[in-house]
């Protein structure tokens, strides 16, 4: 009896762990269902033309689906969806979000911070006239570091990755301007 109880408990636990597929497609059919309702008025003018053979009710019914502007108007209502560009980040927000993201492990975060600090040191050396490298080389290093960050984020935190992409040039603007760079507190 006790064994049966344990078995039932285990079965319940395993069943509870089974993944449940979300019913996301349910949101799409209503859109399709609404569109024929909106396209009915355009089909009404066609109907009077078919009223001549009033004794044949089957013919108008067949002709109603024939005028296919209904599906043509359907994409018009869906197509105008344009992805809104995410707002650009400043360095403090970027730093905070990179700290909080779960897409990157702790050691990886520390390594990235080390590399960001190294890059900032190179900028500092460049502005102090102690460096032998050019701004073009600094830009290359910056792009490489950004690519590293993006490649780490793009699979597991696409939102942050897209935010970084959108603020990429803004951050470069801060780094490439000696006056703005001097005010940075990173």
């Amino acid at each position: 009896m006790q064994v049966a109880y344990v078995v039932v408990l285990l079965v319940l636990l395993i069943a509870g762990c089974a993944p449940v597929a979300p019913e996301t497609p349910a949101s799409e059919p209503p859109i399709v269902a609404v569109q024929p309702a909106t396209t009915q008025p355009p089909t009404k003018p066609v109907a009077p033309a078919t009223q001549k053979p009033a004794t044949q009710p089957a013919a108008p019914v067949r002709r109603q689906p024939a005028p296919a502007p209904a599906p043509a108007s359907a994409p018009r209502s869906v197509a105008p969806r344009a992805p809104a560009a995410p707002p650009a980040l400043d360095l403090a927000t970027l730093k905070a979000q990179l700290k909080d993201t779960k897409a990157i492990g702790v050691f990886t975060k520390i390594t990235l911070k080390n590399q960001v600090d190294d890059l900032l040191d190179r900028f500092r050396a460049y502005y102090e006239g102690k460096a032998k490298f050019s701004m073009t080389e600094l830009r290359r290093s910056y792009d490489l570091l950004m690519m590293k960050v993006l490649s780490l984020l793009q699979d597991d935190d696409q939102k942050l990755a897209s935010l970084i992409v959108s603020s990429r040039e803004a951050i470069w603007g801060l780094l490439a301007d000696p006056k703005k760079f001097a005010t940075l507190e990173v």
Binding site: Q2, V6, L9, L10, L13, I104, G105, V106, F107, T108, I110, T111, L112, N114, Q115, K148, L152
Partner: protein, 85 residues
């Protein structure tokens, strides 16, 4: 007493069911983390397949391509990756 023992056994079984996947997930996360760290240092690895904890923030990582690395956090707060034979 007998009933208590059985209840304890049941509890341990349930705890083990939850604990084993948790440990496995943690280890996979660590492997993924160390794989990224080694790649960020520009060193060949492919993928970390085994990790041995040597001390706190000090790991010995074995890669899929046969390379072995010691990954640790030094006193200056930098992550260091050293190739090992």
């Amino acid at each position: 007493m007998n009933t208590r023992t059985r209840a304890l056994v049941q509890f341990l079984i349930v705890a083990a069911l939850f604990a084993v996947p948790s440990f496995a997930a943690d280890e996979e996360e660590l492997k993924k983390d160390l794989t990224a760290v080694i790649a960020l240092h520009g060193l060949p690895c492919g993928q970390v397949v085994a990790v041995k904890v040597q001390a706190e923030d000090d790991y010995a990582a074995s890669c899929k391509d046969g390379n072995k690395y010691r990954v640790y956090l030094n006193a200056a707060g930098r992550v260091v990756v050293e190739a090992q034979k």
